[in-house]
Symmetry: C2
Subunit: 340 residues, 2 copies
């Protein structure tokens, strides 16, 4: 516990000299590898701790051609969704010696490509990334990397290697079925206008298909740009209801703007879910304490993170068809009428 002032960073050699044990054996001790006598082990550990030695993984990685890093690339951190996924990943990686390294693409394919390039240059043990839509160069990089790739969140499409997620198409469709069964007919949609938010788009497509099957069409749409917040939800709701006052249902592309819409409708004294029904998407529990619980779909974020991590860690056999499709579950809440 009397570390020297390190003008030069400490190396294995320093620990070797301090303990009178060869570098090789020091290395064995520090990695719990091979057979080392209790006595030498003790000497080495004491020396390492006394000096304050921190191994150099750069050198170690180069020598062993193995790195305990898992690259995780997500579109955003401020979107409440992704911390949940990361929680699942890190919970599952915790006892594997693997470490997640997080990169953020800001929903930009170009940026995603850069981030991936950067991460692959560290030769990680695996890559987990959100979505199925990537730049051509990114797809090529990943395919050629020779490491396990897990694309998460979405199963509607073709993957590079393994997919873990839900079908957003199906989630949208099931919500449509539910709403129609509850008797709503004049339906509006509020969502992001992000060409790159493919999952939201797929939900909407599935939703509209579900409606169309019963001869119903969306009466109005309201799009917005940028992040989601309660305030934005309010504004959009006010706007769409001004344009189409006789809507009897609003489907939001996420819970945050849905909650904003809910607060707006409560303010305006709408009868919910009688006069108007509302639904969001994600199943964010942060919002549980609102005056009324928003109906929504649980996107299985935590599970998705866990399953993806299990595959990278080699705890799960890769599924034969390379797809792990989880089931999005409907969370009733209080903003949709009971089905008669």
């Amino acid at each position: 516990m009397t570390p020297q002032k390190p003008r030069r960073p400490l190396t294995l050699r320093d620990v070797s000299e301090a303990s009178g044990v060869s570098e090789m054996t020091v290395s064995r001790v520090l990695r719990n590898r091979g057979d080392v006598s209790a006595a030498t082990r003790e000497k080495v550990l004491t020396a390492a701790k006394t000096l304050g030695y921190v191994p150099n993984k750069i050198a170690g990685g180069l020598a062993s051609q193995r790195v305990n890093l898992v690259a995780v690339v997500i579109p955003s951190l401020s979107n409440l969704v992704f911390p949940d996924v990361l929680g699942g990943i890190s919970a599952e990686l915790d006892d594997t010696g693997l470490q997640p390294v997080i990169g953020v693409s800001n929903y930009s394919p170009a940026r995603e490509e850069m981030v991936l390039y950067d991460m692959l240059s560290w030769r990680p043990s695996g890559v987990i990334l959100a979505g199925l839509e990537h730049s051509k160069a990114a797809t090529a990089m990943l395919s050629n990397s020779g490491i396990p790739i897990v694309e998460i969140m979405d199963t509607d499409g073709q993957g590079i290697d393994t997919l873990v997620g839900i079908s957003h198409h199906r989630a949208g469709r099931e919500m449509a079925d539910h709403i129609l069964a509850a008797g709503y007919r004049r339906i509006g949609f509020v969502g992001t206008h992000m060409p790159e938010d493919h999952r939201a788009r797929k939900r909407l497509v599935g939703f509209e298909e579900g409606l169309a099957e019963k001869g119903v069409q969306l009466e109005a749409r309201e799009y917005y740009q940028g992040g989601s917040s309660l305030l934005k939800g309010r504004e959009l709701t006010e706007r769409i209801l001004a344009r189409a006052p006789d809507l009897d249902f609003l489907y939001y592309s996420n819970d945050m703007i849905g909650a904003g819409g809910l607060l707006y409708c409560l303010d305006q004294g709408y009868d919910i879910p009688g006069r108007i029904g509302l639904a969001g998407f994600n199943g964010v529990d942060l919002l549980d304490g609102l005056p009324v619980r928003l109906s929504t779909t649980d996107a299985r974020r935590h599970d998705i993170g866990r399953r993806a991590a299990r595959i990278i860690a080699g705890k799960d056999a890769t599924p034969p068809d390379r797809v792990v499709a989880l089931t999005p579950t409907f969370l009733p809440g209080d903003t949709i009428r009971a089905i008669p």
Copy 2:
């Protein structure tokens, strides 16, 4: 654009051979270093792209003893506060060639120590970590690492190297002054019971000092464990008001539970801010669309991230006293009476 199937990962040598240029010059081109003729440059870039070469930063880092990584260690991702800080950091690092690597400690000093050990073993160019309270071993590791360390969020205490943050003590104190000036006297506190949430603790100490100076004492406290949510804010508020029904003010340790409390009080028909006043902490704009704006203190999260990153990137001179103290600013909102 016809990448070979890589049984063996590609190396500089492959690019060298494919382009007929020496490894060294290939390396120069790929790093934009030194003078290389436009012709060779072109040859090299074409070859690299055709092969799908991704440089190996492990080898590069070992050879150059430099790594473009900045270790960022925070307690949690689900706490809304930290994504904002990360946003500031990554915005500022964007044009520097440095890359943040995020580690999460879950408010556990032991885990923080492990995460730091892991990150330091990659020899990053700098470390940014939340708070001033670390395990002895962690403090030693950081001091001996020989790399720039910036501790963020808090300036009440002694740092290892450089501090960027606000004084939570002062923030608590100023809120006390404000509340008393507005005429509230029967005051309760609702907060986490996390021995490791030092910043919340310091705010509370400052708050109580501010009260004590005017002869006022906290009448009730309500603590909770685990994450913050609207629901928890409701429950805690119900509980504290059941125990101490004549409280006329509630100070919450963060905006999320404060907002839950606000919703509860609205439900119960309390006159806000007449009969009872409320305040939170942080200034999260996610909650902006609530029926009533919660009074709070802006913790300057984004700025803190930016300043910390600037210091690591060498864009700012390190302040002479090694402390960058930002000013927490009071956000009036609608839940505190005007000062008479």
